[in-house]
């Protein structure tokens, strides 16, 4: 199965506009091929230009259909679009059915659109661990706007806020009473709310409840998330929804929040890279070498305590210069 041997210079060809290279770059990132870091190093200077829109909401809310409609509208306006669509990986088999493309078939042959489906592969926050790097690859490729569609979320999968500039929460009528709306979680992260299937019964009630929830929000500063009713499969409300998205983006650009968010993102990403680097050093040098088992024996016999062992390991690590 390994196909890590690529004859092409993936990063260079991606920057030259090769769609195959973009696709291969995302595979390398996702599978953690050795060359992935080198690819990212070369792409990094070309990132930071795209607007990243996060789309989240419960399963069946219409995220993919809405993404399809929004993408089409952005294309009409001359913007190029990247879409990263995430679906859950089975915790049992490791397999996944990635079905978001079904709603986006009309976009497939538009050369200004690139859609990539990803499985969560064990990640729990509604994204895949590699989502951020896949977004960067599309950004370096030159996409103007990148949609990140999360898995269908429940209440607490809020990783999308860290990955996106603007987060849109898609809701549908009939999913519970007003106490659901004041619980913590995904309802706290919406910069923009879309009530999809607004032609179904209960849409007005949901609108009222959401408004009440937002009225009670004491943390709200200078942005009150707008609520837009849409009927995604009929294309109703799409233009109005884009207006609210654009308004939010302009707002955070103007008040410095965008810069702040992106700075925070860089910080988090660097910490992640650092943690995973130290983690793999530990796996390789302490666990796989059998050292850990030796220590465990000693600790079990109460010859030494675990705190001193760890302190010793860390001291050695710092001296060794990884």
């Amino acid at each position: 199965m390994p196909k890590a041997v690529h004859k092409m210079d993936i990063a260079q060809e991606l920057l030259n506009g090769s769609r195959l290279a973009l696709s291969r770059a995302i595979t390398a990132i996702e599978n953690e091929y050795d060359e992935a870091t080198d690819i990212m190093k070369k792409l990094y200077p070309h990132t930071g230009n795209a607007f990243v829109l996060g789309i989240t909401g419960p399963p069946g809310a219409g995220k993919s259909t809405l993404t399809d409609k929004l993408a089409k509208e952005y294309r009409k306006r001359g913007k190029t679009v990247g879409i990263v669509a995430i679906d859950p990986t089975s915790p049992f088999s490791g397999g996944a059915i990635l079905g978001d493309r079904i709603r986006m078939n009309a976009l497939t042959l538009d050369e200004g659109v690139f859609i990539r489906s990803m499985g969560t592969r064990g990640s729990l926050g509604g994204l895949s661990q590699k989502t951020a790097d896949a977004v960067k690859a599309m950004d370096a490729f030159g996409k103007d706007i990148i949609f990140v569609e999360t898995v269908g979320v429940g209440q607490s999968e809020v990783d999308i806020v860290k990955a996106a500039d603007t987060t849109m929460v898609v809701l549908i009528p009939g999913m519970g009473d007003d106490i659901q709306a004041i619980k913590a979680g995904i309802l706290e992260i919406g910069d923009v709310f879309a009530i999809n299937k607004a032609d179904h019964e209960g849409a007005d009630k949901l609108n009222v409840e959401l408004n009440m929830m937002l009225d009670l929000d004491s943390n709200m500063k200078d942005w009150r998330p707008p609520i837009q009713k849409v009927v995604a499969n009929k294309g109703e409300g799409i233009i109005e929804l884009i207006a609210t998205i654009e308004e939010h983006y302009a707002h955070i650009k103007e008040n410095g929040q965008l810069t702040q968010k992106r700075t925070e993102r860089i910080k988090n990403e660097m910490l992640d890279i650092l943690h995973s680097g130290i983690g793999s050093y530990i796996t390789k040098n302490i666990v796989e070498s059998g050292q850990l088992d030796e220590y465990v024996k000693q600790v079990k016999n109460r010859e030494i305590d675990p705190y001193s062992v760890v302190h010793g390991i860390m001291n050695r690590m710092l001296k060794e210069q990884i």
């Binding site: 199965m1 390994p2 196909k3 769609r19 195959l20 696709s23 291969r24 995302i26 595979t27 996702e30 599978n31 953690e32 091929y33 990986t89 089975s90 088999s93 490791g94 397999g95 996944a96 059915i97 990635l98 079905g99 493309r101 079904i102 078939n105 497939t108 042959l109 690139f114 859609i115 990539r116 489906s117 499985g119 592969r121």
Partner: protein, 130 residues
């Protein structure tokens, strides 16, 4: 390293029946593969482009309309033209035995006809994917 076999399950042509494709998709999922399902009525161009964007290891086409002699070779060619030179391409559906040699000659690695246990498809993919 976390490699997963990625399979595009595609329904080319005009037949509107995808029970078989869904059963296969489900079996492949349970075998630990990442399955991207395109939905019904896809053109060869759409299938090849989806295969490119998803960088799949396998393209699995399902067809019941009898258009396989025309559509399967066309998809093989388009997928190869996109640069996916080592993707495994397989087909299935209501396909007369007599048509199979020509499909294989056109680059379809294997053709699975009604009655094939899904485990045979899984085994074939595991053995042949590059």
């Amino acid at each position: 390293m976390e490699k997963r076999i990625r399979v595009l399950v595609a329904k080319p042509g005009l037949d509107g029946h995808d029970r078989g494709a869904k059963v296969v998709a489900r079996a492949l999922r349970d075998a630990g593969f990442e399955v991207i399902y395109t939905g019904l009525r896809q053109t060869p161009e759409q299938i090849a482009e989806a295969a490119l964007q998803e960088d799949v290891n396998v393209v699995a086409m399902s067809i019941l309309s009898g258009a396989h002699p025309h559509l399967f070779p066309k998809i093989v060619n388009l997928v190869r033209e996109k640069g996916l030179t080592d993707a495994l391409i397989i087909g299935g559906g209501v396909i007369p035995e007599g048509d199979i040699p020509a499909l294989k000659a056109a680059g379809v690695s294997e053709v699975f006809t009604p009655g094939t246990p899904t485990s045979a498809i899984v085994a074939f993919i595991k053995e042949n994917v590059k």
